[in-house]
């Protein structure tokens, strides 16, 4: 596996991040459901990993999404949105390293989605504890957002194998006759 991403993969990661931020911005206006962002994050993060087959692609997608959200003023903007997108991504990449080739691809994606959801919920929980929220209240909110987030994340992850099949059928993941530059 080559150590760095070629420009094609880098751009695809960036475009996935853009689509993630754009759809999140639209869904926020229509759904207002806590946890729906985990559906999109697990979907796009895992598609990036599936298309590039490189560890680190999820983290890069998360960081790109955070930066784009900052630049485009999605959500409340600011630097903390980098954490919102980046933390689940980093957690999922760490999970990838730990999982290696254990389990089938589908189950690996589902476990990674749950890991990402846990990280996403933890960010809010840590923030709440740091601002002095009562531990019981903070844990309750953590548990609730974990549950909702995980359900959405698993839903997103279960679509990823189907998407990768389509991309493979389109010959966009496997390139014939071209050196991998």
């Amino acid at each position: 596996m080559k150590p760095s991403f070629n420009l094609h993969h880098a751009l695809f990661i960036g475009f996935c991040a853009t689509l993630l931020v754009a759809i999140k911005s639209m869904m926020r206006m229509k759904l207002g459901l806590t946890g729906h962002s985990m559906f999109l994050m697990s979907l796009f993060y895992l598609v990036c990993y599936g298309a590039t087959n490189k560890i680190g692609s999820i983290t890069l997608c998360g960081l790109m999404a955070g930066m784009l959200a900052m630049i485009l003023g999605v959500g409340k903007g600011g630097v903390f949105i980098l954490l919102k997108f980046g933390l689940p991504a980093v957690a999922m990449d760490l999970g990838l390293i730990l999982l290696a080739n254990l389990f089938t691809l589908r189950w690996r994606f589902i476990i990674l989605a749950v890991i990402g959801s846990l990280a996403w919920s933890s960010k809010s929980a840590v923030q709440n504890i740091l601002i002095g929220m009562d531990l019981q209240v903070a844990l309750f909110q953590f548990g609730l957002s974990c549950l909702q987030g995980s359900l959405f994340a698993i839903a997103g992850a279960s679509l990823v194998p189907l998407i990768l099949n389509r991309l493979d059928a389109h010959d966009l993941i496997i390139r014939n006759g071209m050196a991998d530059k």
């Binding site: 099949n165 389509r166 059928a169 389109h170 010959d171 014939n176 006759g177 071209m178 050196a179 530059k181």
Partner: protein, 476 residues
């Protein structure tokens, strides 16, 4: 001086040989044209010659030490990287580390060479397609290439755009720059071509004098003559066609019935700038084949979008099948093929792609087999549509619209980028569709198939009018 040479080059693609023992030499100041059917590998050949290190090929590709290459691909929209014309041209200079103060002169010079005398911070989104194409040429000229590759410009550009490009290429050739063009329709560039080649079954064959038998260079009139039924043929067709073999409609359609009526209307951009104006009432009758012609950016797609209800402006001035347009209102009665129709393909096989609509509209799945047979695509039914050539994907998208047997068929630039074999199949299909009582509107940025159409709707200087062209077609 030989700038570039290929010697016994071979390339594999999806476990088949795309190129077999290719040999080619390009010397300074020459203009070469390489023809070939869709899927023959013209674009891949250009990319291979330009960037051989990105391919696993056999044989030798020789680049002269003094070679400076430029490559302009088919669709400018997927090559544009920046927002303003100055920044776009300077992109290459940025990558080579040119000092900022040196960039301005070079960018200005490149723009002057292609005749784009616009302010440097002009937004690219405001340019016509022809201007964008010349911008892409300028983005290559800033490197002062001595060999320029151009991929299929004819399909992208209207006649004005082709004229502008020809001027640029003539100027470049006069300064000693070599040009290689890949093209279906090489006649448009015959005034500058020195060497004419054909890419056929993986080999390059010299073809200095294109003939009518040459599959690359059949004029569009000839294709339409071959494909269109004569009046006698139509009578015989009507008398003899067995019901099982024809496209049968549930109800007899009254050919004097107007399926679409356009009352006087105006189409505008979001910022209220006018696009086109219709001052008379136009009608589409059963059995009509209408050509909607106009240059790029004149509003053809906007008109189609309003007719089918994608855009609800002018809703009260349009009557389609007796109703004001609304998205999804017409079900299987209206078929609409948008530009770049291959982007709608998502199923795993061709048959599934057609059956998607049939299932949603509750129509017999046997329609898929019928239409695939009609378009000579039945052998591809279980294949993935994504691994097919551009022309085949185009036909599959058309098949997915035809199989629902609509009353009205709207086709936005359906012939773009199609070579002659697919052209003929589409024409035959549309002819049969109209003979069976359907009505078709197809758009193009140049008047084509004038033997085929029952009437033409022409957009010229923002005015949409109904026109009857003379029997002798205007091709360029």
């Amino acid at each position: 001086m030989t700038l570039l040479a290929l010697h016994q080059v071979e390339l594999q693609h999806q476990s088949t040989s795309l190129f077999k023992q290719l040999n080619l030499q390009i010397a300074a100041g020459e203009c070469h044209c390489i023809c070939g059917v869709t899927g023959s590998g013209k674009t891949t050949l250009l990319q291979l010659m330009a960037m051989p290190s990105q391919f696993n090929y056999q044989g030798q590709i020789y680049h002269n030490q003094e070679l400076r290459l430029g490559l302009v691909m088919q669709d400018p929209n997927v090559q544009i990287i920046r927002e303003t014309i100055g920044a776009e041209i300077a992109f290459g200079l940025e990558n080579l580390g040119y000092p900022a103060v040196n960039m301005l002169n070079l960018v200005e010079k490149a723009l002057a060479q292609v005749g784009l005398t616009l302010p440097l911070d002009t937004l690219i989104s405001h340019l016509s397609l022809g201007q964008k194409y010349r911008l892409m040429v300028a983005a290559q000229l800033v490197f002062e290439p001595n060999l320029l590759f151009i991929d299929e410009p004819w399909a992208q550009l209207d006649n004005q755009g082709i004229k502008e490009l020809l001027n640029v290429l003539e100027y470049l050739l006069s300064t000693g720059v070599s040009v290689v063009i890949t093209e279906h329709h090489s006649a448009a560039f015959s005034s500058i071509i020195n060497f004419h080649w054909r890419l056929d079954k993986g080999a390059i064959i010299s073809s200095t004098m294109p003939t009518l038998d040459d599959s690359c260079d059949l004029s569009i009139q000839d294709i339409s003559r071959q494909a269109v039924l004569t009046a006698d043929d139509r009578r015989v067709y009507d008398q003899q066609k067995p019901a099982a073999q024809s496209v049968v409609y549930q109800a007899e359609i009254d050919k004097s019935l107007s399926l679409l009526t356009l009352s006087p209307l105006n189409i505008q951009f979001n910022d209220q700038r006018p696009v086109l104006q219709l001052k008379e009432t136009l009608a589409l009758m059963a059995g009509d084949i209408v050509g909607l012609f106009g240059e790029n950016g004149c509003g053809k797609t906007s008109l189609f979008n309003q007719i089918v209800g994608v855009d609800l402006a002018n809703q009260t001035r349009i009557s389609l099948l007796g109703k004001a347009p609304k998205l999804g209102l017409y079900g299987a009665e209206v078929g609409f093929l948008m530009q770049r129709p291959s982007r709608q393909l998502f199923e795993m096989t061709v048959r599934q792609e057609l059956e998607f609509s049939l299932k949603r509209f509750g129509l017999p799945l046997s329609n898929a087999t019928e239409v695939l047979t009609q378009l000579d695509l039945l052998h591809l039914a279980s294949h993935s549509p994504h691994k097919m050539s551009y022309g085949q994907q185009h036909l599959i998208a058309l098949a997915s619209v035809l199989c629902i047997k609509p009353k009205v068929l709207l086709l936005d630039d359906p012939f773009a980028g199609l070579d002659n074999q697919y052209f003929a199949r589409v024409i035959a299909c549309l002819t049969q569709f109209a003979l069976a009582g359907g009505a078709v509107i197809f758009s193009s940025h140049r008047p084509i198939l004038l033997d085929l159409v029952s009437k033409s709707w022409l957009i010229d200087q923002q005015q949409l009018t109904e026109q009857c062209f003379a029997a002798k077609a205007v091709s360029l």
